[in-house]
Symmetry: C2
Subunit: 181 residues, 2 copies
DNA sequence: ACCTGAACACCGTTCAAGT
DNA sequence: ACCTGAACACCGTTCAAGT
């Protein structure tokens, strides 16, 4: 049976989740899928394009709709948290998402919803794109910091203060306070 | 005359500034310095350690002392702006600084001052490390976003809304508002 | 002390040729 | 349509051997 693009993306997500971005090479993927490297290039244009698909897959389970009874502020906070929750267990996921976002901003739907929710919460349109970036930098920065900390611990080095869930929630609250929503 | 570690770091900063991180390889550096690759490994332990030095050099010109007549809030904002100004012209500088910061948090002095200034401005010690991260994620995220935008433009693709100085200053203000300082 | 030469174990990407 | 085989032009790191 012929290889599919889905299978390539699946394998890539698997290697990323289990071994991190440093081990996610086209050649490694080819070995995993029992094909020659060149075969991958019939299904994806290049590695960057593949990583965009990987990022989209990582964010694929982030639901669109907030709880019905949530306030607009709570809706923003809960989407930010859902994004963090989706990325937290996958090593280097923040880097992959950042790459994907610069290459194809529209491909990552949940990140675009953030802006909509911010406007619904009262952030004026001239600022909502900036506010989205502010929040997103916090989400991705928190995920990366926490993962770097745990990989340093695995090597036996100290990693600075805890930057887990508490720090994340506090940061979201601080930003939303600053936005006045 | 013997090669020095300073010269290796100089060359690395030069390649980064002129061509970006993708072109900053040990072999490229060796060519630039007219030595064999192995020679570099007498002066630096590995590439990561070299990048820590590169990051420190990039932030080396960021001054410690704020204007005497500045309010504590203005002191924080002006340090954040000075960091941004130092990194903005160097491609991929945000990635390099983030790497360096996770590998050797103490090596990047200006980033530690940020926490001190935040405490002087009234952020309680339990939150000052988190607040520093929040601000730093904004600084590095803004630098990276702006650079990605201009490199996409160079290739003739659209890069989304402007994320320049205005967005940066607005973001700093929003964070400081959220911190209540 | 400082560097060369050469190797080891990798990369991403392309492409003629096969089926 | 889909894949193989093989090449091209690279990587980071190590290390015996030279000076």
């Amino acid at each position: 049976m012929a290889l599919t693009r889905e299978q390539v993306v699946d394998a890539a997500v698997g290697v990323l989740a289990d071994f991190g971005l440093a081990d996610l090479s086209m050649r490694r993927l080819a070995r995993e899928l029992d094909v020659q490297v060149g075969a991958l290039y019939w299904h994806v244009k290049n590695k960057q394009e593949l990583l965009v698909d990987v990022a989209a897959r990582l964010l694929g389970d982030v639901g669109r709709l907030p709880e019905a009874e949530a306030t607009p502020r709570e809706a923003v906070a809960s989407l930010a948290t859902a994004i963090r929750t989706a990325l937290a267990p996958v090593p280097d996921s923040a880097e992959v998402v950042q790459l994907a976002q610069t290459m194809q901003p529209a491909a990552l739907e949940p990140l675009t919803w953030l802006r909509e929710l911010l406007e619904e919460a009262g952030v004026p349109p001239q600022h909502s794109a900036w506010a989205r970036h502010l929040l997103l930098n916090h989400v991705l920065g928190s995920v990366a910091a926490q993962q770097d900390r745990s990989s340093l611990e695995a090597v036996g080095e100290a990693g600075g203060p805890d930057l887990g869930e508490d720090a994340f929630a506090w940061g979201v609250g601080t930003i939303l306070d600053g936005l006045g929503i």
